[in-house]
Protein backbone atom coordinates (compact mmCIF):
# COMPACT_ATOMS: atom_id res chain seq x y z
CA UNK A 1 0.00 0.00 0.00
CA UNK A 2 2.84 2.43 0.82
CA UNK A 3 4.33 2.12 -2.65
CA UNK A 4 1.21 1.52 -4.71
CA UNK A 5 -1.33 3.71 -2.88
CA UNK A 6 -1.14 6.54 -5.42
CA UNK A 7 -1.48 4.10 -8.34
CA UNK A 8 -4.61 2.62 -6.76
CA UNK A 9 -6.03 6.13 -6.23
CA UNK A 10 -5.36 7.09 -9.88
CA UNK A 11 -6.83 3.80 -11.13
CA UNK A 12 -9.95 4.37 -9.00
CA UNK A 13 -10.51 7.87 -10.41
CA UNK A 14 -10.11 6.66 -14.01
CA UNK A 15 -12.23 3.55 -13.47
CA UNK A 16 -15.15 5.30 -11.75
CA UNK A 17 -15.15 8.29 -14.14
CA UNK A 18 -15.07 5.88 -17.10
CA UNK A 19 -17.92 3.87 -15.57
CA UNK A 20 -20.08 7.02 -15.17
CA UNK A 21 -19.32 8.18 -18.74
CA UNK A 22 -20.10 4.74 -20.16
CA UNK A 23 -23.42 4.75 -18.27
CA UNK A 24 -24.23 8.23 -19.62
CA UNK A 25 -23.37 7.14 -23.20
CA UNK A 26 -25.60 4.08 -22.87
CA UNK A 27 -28.40 6.23 -21.39
CA UNK A 28 -28.24 8.64 -24.34
CA UNK A 29 -27.99 5.92 -27.00
CA UNK A 30 -31.79 5.79 -27.44
CA UNK A 31 -34.47 8.51 -27.52
CA UNK A 32 -37.76 7.49 -25.90
CA UNK A 33 -39.65 10.80 -26.35
CA UNK A 34 -38.96 14.43 -27.21
CA UNK A 35 -40.34 17.49 -25.41
CA UNK A 36 -39.94 20.99 -26.91
CA UNK A 37 -39.57 23.66 -24.26
CA UNK A 38 -39.61 27.39 -24.95
CA UNK A 39 -38.32 30.35 -22.94
CA UNK A 40 -41.75 30.53 -21.30
CA UNK A 41 -41.12 27.23 -19.51
CA UNK A 42 -37.43 27.93 -18.97
CA UNK A 43 -36.92 31.22 -17.13
CA UNK A 44 -33.35 31.87 -16.00
CA UNK A 45 -32.73 31.98 -12.29
CA UNK A 46 -32.39 35.51 -10.82
CA UNK A 47 -28.95 37.08 -11.16
CA UNK A 48 -28.16 36.88 -7.42
CA UNK A 49 -28.58 33.08 -7.59
CA UNK A 50 -26.21 32.88 -10.57
CA UNK A 51 -23.44 35.02 -9.07
CA UNK A 52 -21.24 32.09 -8.00
CA UNK A 53 -22.22 29.55 -10.64
CA UNK A 54 -22.07 30.01 -14.40
CA UNK A 55 -23.87 26.72 -15.05
CA UNK A 56 -27.41 26.46 -16.39
CA UNK A 57 -29.42 23.52 -15.13
CA UNK A 58 -32.87 22.29 -16.12
CA UNK A 59 -35.04 20.81 -13.39
CA UNK A 60 -38.47 19.45 -14.18
CA UNK A 61 -40.97 19.43 -11.33
CA UNK A 62 -43.98 17.22 -11.91
CA UNK A 63 -47.24 17.56 -10.03
CA UNK A 64 -49.70 14.72 -9.54
CA UNK A 65 -53.22 15.48 -8.37
CA UNK A 66 -53.99 13.32 -5.36
CA UNK A 67 -57.47 11.73 -5.20
CA UNK A 68 -59.91 13.73 -3.07
CA UNK A 69 -60.28 12.13 0.39
CA UNK A 70 -63.66 10.56 1.15
CA UNK A 71 -65.88 12.72 3.45
CA UNK A 72 -65.66 11.69 7.09
CA UNK A 73 -68.69 10.14 8.68
CA UNK A 74 -69.68 12.30 11.61
CA UNK A 75 -72.72 10.36 12.80
CA UNK A 76 -70.69 8.28 15.26
CA UNK A 77 -68.97 11.40 16.57
CA UNK A 78 -72.35 13.08 17.04
CA UNK A 79 -73.68 10.11 18.98
CA UNK A 80 -70.59 9.92 21.20
CA UNK A 81 -70.72 13.67 21.82
CA UNK A 82 -74.44 13.49 22.68
CA UNK A 83 -73.83 10.57 25.06
CA UNK A 84 -71.21 12.69 26.81
CA UNK A 85 -73.76 15.50 27.24
CA UNK A 86 -72.54 17.80 24.41
CA UNK A 87 -74.68 19.25 21.62
CA UNK A 88 -73.09 19.80 18.23
CA UNK A 89 -74.51 22.11 15.60
CA UNK A 90 -73.39 22.87 12.07
CA UNK A 91 -71.55 26.15 11.66
CA UNK A 92 -71.75 27.92 8.31
CA UNK A 93 -68.35 28.33 6.65
CA UNK A 94 -67.00 31.89 6.91
Amino acid sequence: MRRHGWKLAVALVLLVTGWVLAGAAWNRSATEAEVVLTERELPLAPVFLRAESSGVALRIETTAVAPRPAPRRLAGDHRRAAAAGHRLRRVAPT
Binding site: M1, G5, W6, A9, V13, V16, T17, V20, E52, S54
Partner: protein
Protein backbone atom coordinates in the same frame (compact mmCIF):
# COMPACT_ATOMS: atom_id res chain seq x y z
CA UNK B 1 11.00 1.92 11.39
CA UNK B 2 7.84 4.01 10.86
CA UNK B 3 7.53 7.70 11.75
CA UNK B 4 5.31 6.85 14.77
CA UNK B 5 7.91 4.38 16.07
CA UNK B 6 10.69 6.93 15.52
CA UNK B 7 8.68 9.56 17.43
CA UNK B 8 8.06 7.10 20.28
CA UNK B 9 11.81 6.36 20.49
CA UNK B 10 12.63 10.09 20.57
CA UNK B 11 10.03 10.60 23.34
CA UNK B 12 11.65 7.78 25.35
CA UNK B 13 15.11 9.35 24.90
CA UNK B 14 13.81 12.72 26.14
CA UNK B 15 12.10 11.11 29.15
CA UNK B 16 15.28 9.17 29.95
CA UNK B 17 17.40 12.35 29.84
CA UNK B 18 14.95 14.16 32.16
CA UNK B 19 14.83 11.26 34.61
CA UNK B 20 18.63 10.85 34.57
CA UNK B 21 19.03 14.53 35.47
CA UNK B 22 16.50 14.16 38.34
CA UNK B 23 18.21 11.00 39.67
CA UNK B 24 21.61 12.72 39.65
CA UNK B 25 20.18 15.73 41.49
CA UNK B 26 18.61 13.49 44.13
CA UNK B 27 21.89 11.57 44.51
CA UNK B 28 20.32 8.21 43.59
CA UNK B 29 22.62 7.67 40.60
CA UNK B 30 25.91 9.13 39.50
CA UNK B 31 27.23 8.15 36.09
CA UNK B 32 30.92 8.48 35.42
CA UNK B 33 31.81 11.45 33.21
CA UNK B 34 32.86 9.27 30.25
CA UNK B 35 29.69 7.12 30.53
CA UNK B 36 27.49 10.22 30.57
CA UNK B 37 29.34 11.65 27.59
CA UNK B 38 28.99 8.37 25.66
CA UNK B 39 25.22 8.19 26.36
CA UNK B 40 24.77 11.88 25.47
CA UNK B 41 26.71 11.47 22.22
CA UNK B 42 24.76 8.32 21.34
CA UNK B 43 21.43 10.06 22.00
CA UNK B 44 22.45 13.16 20.04
CA UNK B 45 23.45 11.03 17.04
CA UNK B 46 20.26 8.96 17.34
CA UNK B 47 17.99 12.03 17.50
CA UNK B 48 19.82 13.62 14.56
CA UNK B 49 19.39 10.43 12.50
CA UNK B 50 15.69 10.10 13.40
CA UNK B 51 15.08 13.78 12.62
CA UNK B 52 16.87 13.50 9.28
CA UNK B 53 15.05 10.33 8.27
CA UNK B 54 11.54 10.83 9.68
CA UNK B 55 11.33 14.57 10.50
CA UNK B 56 10.24 13.83 14.09
CA UNK B 57 9.77 16.32 16.95
CA UNK B 58 12.94 16.08 19.05
CA UNK B 59 11.80 18.48 21.80
CA UNK B 60 8.57 19.36 23.62
CA UNK B 61 8.47 22.77 21.94
CA UNK B 62 8.72 21.17 18.49
CA UNK B 63 5.87 18.83 19.39
CA UNK B 64 3.60 21.72 20.36
CA UNK B 65 4.49 23.55 17.16
CA UNK B 66 3.69 20.41 15.17
CA UNK B 67 0.18 20.37 16.66
CA UNK B 68 -0.24 23.99 15.63
CA UNK B 69 0.96 23.10 12.11
CA UNK B 70 -1.56 20.26 11.88
CA UNK B 71 -4.43 22.60 12.80
CA UNK B 72 -3.24 25.20 10.28
CA UNK B 73 -2.86 22.44 7.65
CA UNK B 74 -6.45 21.34 8.24
CA UNK B 75 -7.79 24.88 7.93
CA UNK B 76 -5.67 25.46 4.80
CA UNK B 77 -6.91 22.22 3.24
CA UNK B 78 -10.55 23.20 3.87
CA UNK B 79 -9.92 26.64 2.31
CA UNK B 80 -8.16 25.17 -0.77
CA UNK B 81 -10.95 22.62 -1.23
CA UNK B 82 -13.58 25.37 -1.09
CA UNK B 83 -11.53 27.37 -3.61
CA UNK B 84 -11.40 24.43 -6.06
CA UNK B 85 -15.13 23.84 -5.61
CA UNK B 86 -16.16 27.47 -6.21
CA UNK B 87 -13.65 27.94 -9.04
CA UNK B 88 -15.28 25.13 -10.99
CA UNK B 89 -18.81 26.41 -10.28
CA UNK B 90 -17.79 29.92 -11.34
CA UNK B 91 -16.56 28.91 -14.82
CA UNK B 92 -18.13 25.57 -15.75
CA UNK B 93 -20.99 27.23 -17.64
CA UNK B 94 -18.48 28.65 -20.15
CA UNK B 95 -16.99 25.21 -20.91
CA UNK B 96 -18.28 22.54 -23.27
CA UNK B 97 -19.18 19.12 -21.85
CA UNK B 98 -15.95 17.37 -23.03
CA UNK B 99 -13.82 20.08 -21.39
CA UNK B 100 -15.92 19.92 -18.21
CA UNK B 101 -15.40 16.14 -18.02
CA UNK B 102 -11.66 16.47 -18.72
CA UNK B 103 -11.23 19.13 -16.02
CA UNK B 104 -13.27 17.14 -13.49
CA UNK B 105 -11.31 13.92 -14.10
CA UNK B 106 -7.92 15.65 -14.20
CA UNK B 107 -8.34 17.60 -10.93
CA UNK B 108 -8.13 14.59 -8.56
CA UNK B 109 -5.27 13.11 -10.61
CA UNK B 110 -3.32 16.37 -10.27
CA UNK B 111 -4.12 16.25 -6.52
CA UNK B 112 -2.71 12.70 -6.25
CA UNK B 113 0.45 13.77 -8.09
CA UNK B 114 0.86 16.83 -5.84
CA UNK B 115 0.42 14.61 -2.76
CA UNK B 116 3.12 12.23 -3.99
CA UNK B 117 5.47 15.18 -4.58
CA UNK B 118 4.67 16.81 -1.21
CA UNK B 119 5.19 13.52 0.65
CA UNK B 120 8.64 13.10 -0.93
CA UNK B 121 9.72 16.66 -0.15
CA UNK B 122 8.22 16.93 3.38
CA UNK B 123 8.39 13.77 5.51
CA UNK B 124 6.27 15.24 8.33
CA UNK B 125 3.23 14.86 6.06
CA UNK B 126 1.83 18.33 6.79
CA UNK B 127 1.79 19.52 3.18
CA UNK B 128 0.80 16.08 1.90
CA UNK B 129 -2.29 16.33 4.16
CA UNK B 130 -3.31 19.56 2.43
CA UNK B 131 -2.81 18.25 -1.11
CA UNK B 132 -4.49 14.91 -0.32
CA UNK B 133 -7.57 16.58 1.17
CA UNK B 134 -7.81 18.85 -1.87
CA UNK B 135 -7.50 15.75 -4.11
CA UNK B 136 -10.38 14.13 -2.18
CA UNK B 137 -12.48 17.30 -2.53
CA UNK B 138 -11.73 17.29 -6.29
CA UNK B 139 -12.82 13.65 -6.56
CA UNK B 140 -16.05 14.40 -4.66
CA UNK B 141 -16.60 17.33 -7.07
CA UNK B 142 -15.82 15.03 -10.02
CA UNK B 143 -18.48 12.44 -9.20
CA UNK B 144 -21.15 14.84 -7.98
CA UNK B 145 -20.78 17.12 -11.04
CA UNK B 146 -20.75 14.18 -13.46
CA UNK B 147 -23.96 13.10 -11.76
CA UNK B 148 -25.47 16.56 -12.37
CA UNK B 149 -24.22 16.89 -15.96
CA UNK B 150 -25.43 13.42 -17.05
CA UNK B 151 -28.39 13.17 -14.68
CA UNK B 152 -27.14 10.01 -12.98
CA UNK B 153 -29.40 8.49 -10.31
CA UNK B 154 -27.88 9.33 -6.89
CA UNK B 155 -26.44 6.30 -5.10
CA UNK B 156 -24.84 5.66 -1.72
CA UNK B 157 -22.05 3.74 -3.45
CA UNK B 158 -20.36 7.08 -4.25
CA UNK B 159 -19.43 7.24 -0.55
CA UNK B 160 -17.70 3.84 -0.81
CA UNK B 161 -15.65 5.08 -3.78
CA UNK B 162 -14.67 8.30 -1.95
CA UNK B 163 -13.80 6.24 1.15
CA UNK B 164 -11.55 3.95 -0.91
CA UNK B 165 -9.79 6.95 -2.52
CA UNK B 166 -9.17 8.60 0.88
CA UNK B 167 -7.98 5.34 2.45
CA UNK B 168 -5.55 4.65 -0.43
CA UNK B 169 -3.91 8.06 0.11
CA UNK B 170 -4.04 7.76 3.92
CA UNK B 171 -2.32 4.36 3.96
CA UNK B 172 0.18 5.36 1.26
CA UNK B 173 1.49 8.36 3.20
CA UNK B 174 0.34 7.76 6.81
CA UNK B 175 -2.14 10.69 6.79
CA UNK B 176 -4.48 10.46 9.78
CA UNK B 177 -6.75 13.33 8.70
CA UNK B 178 -7.36 11.58 5.36
CA UNK B 179 -8.04 8.35 7.26
CA UNK B 180 -10.73 10.09 9.35
CA UNK B 181 -12.25 11.65 6.19
CA UNK B 182 -12.28 8.21 4.55
CA UNK B 183 -13.85 6.62 7.63
CA UNK B 184 -16.61 9.26 7.65
CA UNK B 185 -17.38 8.37 4.01
CA UNK B 186 -17.27 4.65 4.89
CA UNK B 187 -19.63 5.29 7.82
CA UNK B 188 -22.06 7.12 5.50
CA UNK B 189 -21.97 4.18 3.05
CA UNK B 190 -22.42 1.56 5.79
CA UNK B 191 -25.33 3.50 7.36
CA UNK B 192 -27.05 4.10 4.01
CA UNK B 193 -26.56 0.45 3.04
CA UNK B 194 -27.99 -0.71 6.38
CA UNK B 195 -30.95 1.63 5.73
CA UNK B 196 -31.61 0.27 2.22
CA UNK B 197 -31.33 -3.27 3.59
CA UNK B 198 -34.15 -2.34 5.98
CA UNK B 199 -36.26 -0.85 3.16
CA UNK B 200 -35.42 2.86 3.60
CA UNK B 201 -34.42 5.08 0.64
CA UNK B 202 -30.67 5.62 1.14
CA UNK B 203 -30.83 9.41 1.48
CA UNK B 204 -33.34 9.01 4.34
CA UNK B 205 -31.17 6.50 6.24
CA UNK B 206 -29.97 9.29 8.57
CA UNK B 207 -33.54 9.72 9.80
CA UNK B 208 -33.19 6.30 11.46
CA UNK B 209 -30.08 6.65 13.66
CA UNK B 210 -29.96 2.89 14.26
CA UNK B 211 -28.37 2.65 10.80
CA UNK B 212 -25.51 4.85 12.08
CA UNK B 213 -25.12 2.57 15.12
CA UNK B 214 -24.70 -0.38 12.74
CA UNK B 215 -22.06 1.51 10.70
CA UNK B 216 -20.22 2.65 13.85
CA UNK B 217 -20.06 -0.90 15.19
CA UNK B 218 -18.55 -2.11 11.91
CA UNK B 219 -15.84 0.60 12.11
CA UNK B 220 -15.17 -0.35 15.75
CA UNK B 221 -14.82 -3.99 14.68
CA UNK B 222 -12.35 -2.97 11.94
CA UNK B 223 -10.13 -1.34 14.61
CA UNK B 224 -9.11 -4.86 15.70
CA UNK B 225 -7.55 -5.61 12.30
CA UNK B 226 -3.80 -5.67 13.08
CA UNK B 227 -1.73 -2.80 11.60
CA UNK B 228 1.97 -3.60 11.45
CA UNK B 229 3.08 -0.38 9.75
CA UNK B 230 0.40 2.26 10.48
CA UNK B 231 0.27 1.51 14.20
CA UNK B 232 -1.63 4.73 15.05
CA UNK B 233 -4.51 3.99 12.64
CA UNK B 234 -6.59 1.51 14.73
CA UNK B 235 -7.24 4.28 17.30
CA UNK B 236 -8.85 6.42 14.55
CA UNK B 237 -11.13 3.50 13.54
CA UNK B 238 -12.03 2.92 17.20
CA UNK B 239 -12.75 6.56 18.09
CA UNK B 240 -14.71 7.28 14.88
CA UNK B 241 -16.82 4.14 15.27
CA UNK B 242 -17.57 4.61 18.98
CA UNK B 243 -18.28 8.34 18.52
CA UNK B 244 -20.83 7.51 15.79
CA UNK B 245 -22.51 4.90 18.02
CA UNK B 246 -22.67 7.21 21.07
CA UNK B 247 -23.96 10.23 19.12
CA UNK B 248 -26.67 8.08 17.48
CA UNK B 249 -27.75 6.73 20.90
CA UNK B 250 -27.80 10.28 22.30
CA UNK B 251 -30.13 11.39 19.47
CA UNK B 252 -32.43 8.38 19.95
CA UNK B 253 -32.52 8.93 23.74
CA UNK B 254 -34.10 12.34 23.11
CA UNK B 255 -36.02 11.63 19.89
CA UNK B 256 -37.69 8.25 20.22
CA UNK B 257 -39.84 8.85 17.13
CA UNK B 258 -36.74 8.29 14.97
CA UNK B 259 -36.28 4.74 16.21
CA UNK B 260 -36.93 1.90 13.79
CA UNK B 261 -37.78 -0.45 16.67
CA UNK B 262 -41.46 -1.44 17.09
CA UNK B 263 -41.75 0.55 20.32
CA UNK B 264 -43.66 3.63 21.45
CA UNK B 265 -41.77 6.94 21.50
CA UNK B 266 -41.45 6.92 25.29
CA UNK B 267 -40.37 3.27 25.46
CA UNK B 268 -37.71 3.82 22.74
CA UNK B 269 -36.37 6.90 24.57
CA UNK B 270 -36.15 5.01 27.88
CA UNK B 271 -34.43 2.08 26.17
CA UNK B 272 -31.80 4.33 24.55
CA UNK B 273 -31.27 6.35 27.76
CA UNK B 274 -30.34 3.12 29.57
CA UNK B 275 -28.30 1.99 26.54
CA UNK B 276 -26.44 5.34 26.52
CA UNK B 277 -25.34 5.01 30.14
CA UNK B 278 -24.40 1.35 29.68
CA UNK B 279 -22.51 1.98 26.43
CA UNK B 280 -20.52 4.96 27.72
CA UNK B 281 -19.64 3.07 30.95
CA UNK B 282 -18.52 0.10 28.84
CA UNK B 283 -16.37 2.42 26.66
CA UNK B 284 -14.70 3.88 29.79
CA UNK B 285 -14.00 0.39 31.12
CA UNK B 286 -12.63 -0.77 27.76
CA UNK B 287 -10.35 2.28 27.54
CA UNK B 288 -9.01 1.76 31.08
CA UNK B 289 -8.52 -2.01 30.70
CA UNK B 290 -6.78 -1.81 27.33
CA UNK B 291 -4.79 1.35 28.11
CA UNK B 292 -6.51 3.44 25.39
CA UNK B 293 -6.64 6.98 26.83
CA UNK B 294 -8.63 8.43 23.87
CA UNK B 295 -11.32 5.77 24.24
CA UNK B 296 -11.59 6.29 28.02
CA UNK B 297 -11.87 10.08 27.52
CA UNK B 298 -14.57 9.58 24.88
CA UNK B 299 -16.53 7.33 27.26
CA UNK B 300 -16.24 9.82 30.16
CA UNK B 301 -17.38 12.72 27.97
CA UNK B 302 -20.34 10.71 26.63
CA UNK B 303 -21.32 9.55 30.14
CA UNK B 304 -21.26 13.15 31.41
CA UNK B 305 -23.38 14.38 28.47
CA UNK B 306 -25.92 11.56 28.96
CA UNK B 307 -26.12 12.33 32.67
CA UNK B 308 -26.47 16.10 32.23
CA UNK B 309 -29.11 15.65 29.52
CA UNK B 310 -31.16 13.47 31.87
CA UNK B 311 -30.71 15.84 34.82
CA UNK B 312 -31.97 18.68 32.62
CA UNK B 313 -35.04 16.62 31.60
CA UNK B 314 -35.82 15.66 35.19
CA UNK B 315 -35.12 18.78 37.20
CA UNK B 316 -34.80 21.96 35.08
CA UNK B 317 -38.54 22.71 35.16
CA UNK B 318 -39.32 22.27 38.84
CA UNK B 319 -36.04 23.02 40.63
CA UNK B 320 -34.91 26.55 41.48
CA UNK B 321 -31.95 27.42 39.24
CA UNK B 322 -29.47 27.73 42.14
CA UNK B 323 -30.39 24.24 43.32
CA UNK B 324 -30.18 22.78 39.79
CA UNK B 325 -26.66 24.10 39.26
CA UNK B 326 -25.66 23.08 42.79
CA UNK B 327 -26.77 19.52 42.00
CA UNK B 328 -24.82 19.63 38.72
CA UNK B 329 -21.70 20.69 40.62
CA UNK B 330 -22.19 17.89 43.16
CA UNK B 331 -22.67 15.34 40.38
CA UNK B 332 -19.47 16.56 38.69
CA UNK B 333 -17.60 16.12 42.00
CA UNK B 334 -19.04 12.62 42.40
CA UNK B 335 -17.99 11.73 38.85
CA UNK B 336 -14.46 13.01 39.56
CA UNK B 337 -14.26 10.78 42.65
CA UNK B 338 -15.40 7.74 40.67
CA UNK B 339 -12.94 8.47 37.84
CA UNK B 340 -10.13 8.96 40.37
CA UNK B 341 -10.85 5.54 41.83
CA UNK B 342 -10.79 4.03 38.35
CA UNK B 343 -7.47 5.76 37.69
CA UNK B 344 -6.01 4.47 40.94
CA UNK B 345 -7.22 0.96 40.11
CA UNK B 346 -5.58 1.06 36.67
CA UNK B 347 -2.33 2.35 38.22
CA UNK B 348 -2.41 -0.55 40.71
CA UNK B 349 -2.93 -3.06 37.89
CA UNK B 350 0.01 -1.57 35.97
CA UNK B 351 2.25 -1.57 39.06
CA UNK B 352 1.39 -5.22 39.73
CA UNK B 353 2.17 -6.10 36.10
CA UNK B 354 5.57 -4.35 36.37
CA UNK B 355 6.46 -6.16 39.61
CA UNK B 356 5.31 -9.61 38.39
CA UNK B 357 8.20 -10.42 36.00
Amino acid sequence: MTRDEAQARADRVRAFQDELGALEQEGALALAADQRARVAAHHAALLAALTAEHDIDATGGQKQLSWGMRIVAFLGAVAFSAAVWFLFYRYWGYLGVPVQVAVLAAAPLVGVGATELAARRDRSGTFATITALVALAAFVLDLSMLGQIFDVTPSQHAFLVWAAFALFLAYAHGLRLLLVAGLCCLLAWLSASAGTFGGIYWISAGERPETVIAGGLVLFGLSFVPHRVRTAFPAAYRITGLLAVLVAILILADWGNASALPLSRVAAEHLYQVAGFAASAAVILLGVRRGWPGTANLGSTAFTIFLYTKLYDWWWEWMPRYLFFLVLGLVATLLLLVLRRLRAASQAVRAAAEVAP
